[in-house]
Symmetry: C2
Subunit: 158 residues, 2 copies
DNA sequence: GACGAAATGATATAATATAACACTTCAACA
DNA sequence: TGTTGAAGTGTTATATTATATCATTTCGTC
């Protein structure tokens, strides 16, 4: 079975580096400034494969000695979401790093309630079903939120 | 085309009556008390086919002369969600009346950003795709949130 | 270096949600 | 029919999430 969730022992430094590199590329392609604050927030989000809330980010920033206030964090989040570098998980009021920001996807999120990890999937069957259902009733899709909560493979096994 | 959303000219009184009747049946079947406060909140939610927030409900209750506080509203909402008589729309922080509370569904919500109406759909293709995607990665589903935002057929036409 | 746009700082406050404890209601049963 | 215990509601306070507004700083362009 292919698990969407990363291995326990994976080299997370590489996840972060790769995400940062992609983010820089995307920002450049959009003539957007990947400022220090935005990089900090983005990096903090990528510290784990869990979703993180705005105020957790704020605490983390302040822990790093940055004198930040809520609007600072929300602005960075807005910027990153706008470029699809991160996603907001509506059912958690939290944010999650996207590892395929170029892909024009209807993303789906699997959220493990035990370990807290989130994994993004792009499932063409699901996307097609959503589009078909909308088409059948004349609904013009602008955004979709698909969040699936439960137990990841690892946690279900224990 | 079958529109999920109700006709402009539909008799909304019948929606409300039918929903109330179903709700009473479900509550009874679950040995749950459909108290006056719960009925008020439920009826307020059913005043329209839009989603309504907890604080809008609170205002409406107070407008009716009920001396309610936030916990009162949230408790009623918790009760109604628990029996699946209403659903929470995560991306709106709002609540919406369910018209098929008995159905053990993975519900999908279409939300029109123009008129604000919400419609629930049960699409077996979509549910199957979600289950298949989860199964393929060993994820044990406990809850799903599928919210599709855009323009309903009426609003897209204008 | 001057200018204007974009980004950030700073303060205040809005909007959403829950904890904790007191009081009331109601159904079951003695 | 009165008692009792659980469920429901009242009340106060506060936690959590998010945004409006205006001042200041940064940065690329000329």
């Amino acid at each position: 079975m292919t698990d969407l969730f990363p291995d326990k022992g994976h080299d997370h430094g590489r996840c972060i580096d790769s995400a940062l590199h992609q983010a820089e590329t995307v920002a450049e392609a959009n003539n957007a400034r990947f400022t220090d604050m935005r990089r900090r927030v983005f990096t903090l989000i990528w510290q784990s494969h869990k979703a993180i809330t705005a105020y957790e980010l704020l605490d983390a920033l302040q822990g790093e000695g940055v004198r930040a206030q809520p609007p600072t964090v929300y602005r960075a989040l807005e910027f990153l979401v706008g470029l699809r570098l991160i996603h907001r998980i509506e059912s958690l009021n939290a944010y999650f790093g996207c590892d395929m920001p170029d892909c024009e996807h209807l993303g789906q999120y699997f959220i493990c309630r035990n370990c807290g990890r989130v994994a993004e999937a792009v499932n063409e069957d699901m996307s097609r079903a959503v589009r078909a259902a909308a088409g059948a009733v004349g609904f013009k899709i602008e955004a979709t939120t698909i969040e699936i909560k439960g137990l990841c493979h690892d946690c279900a096994a224990h």
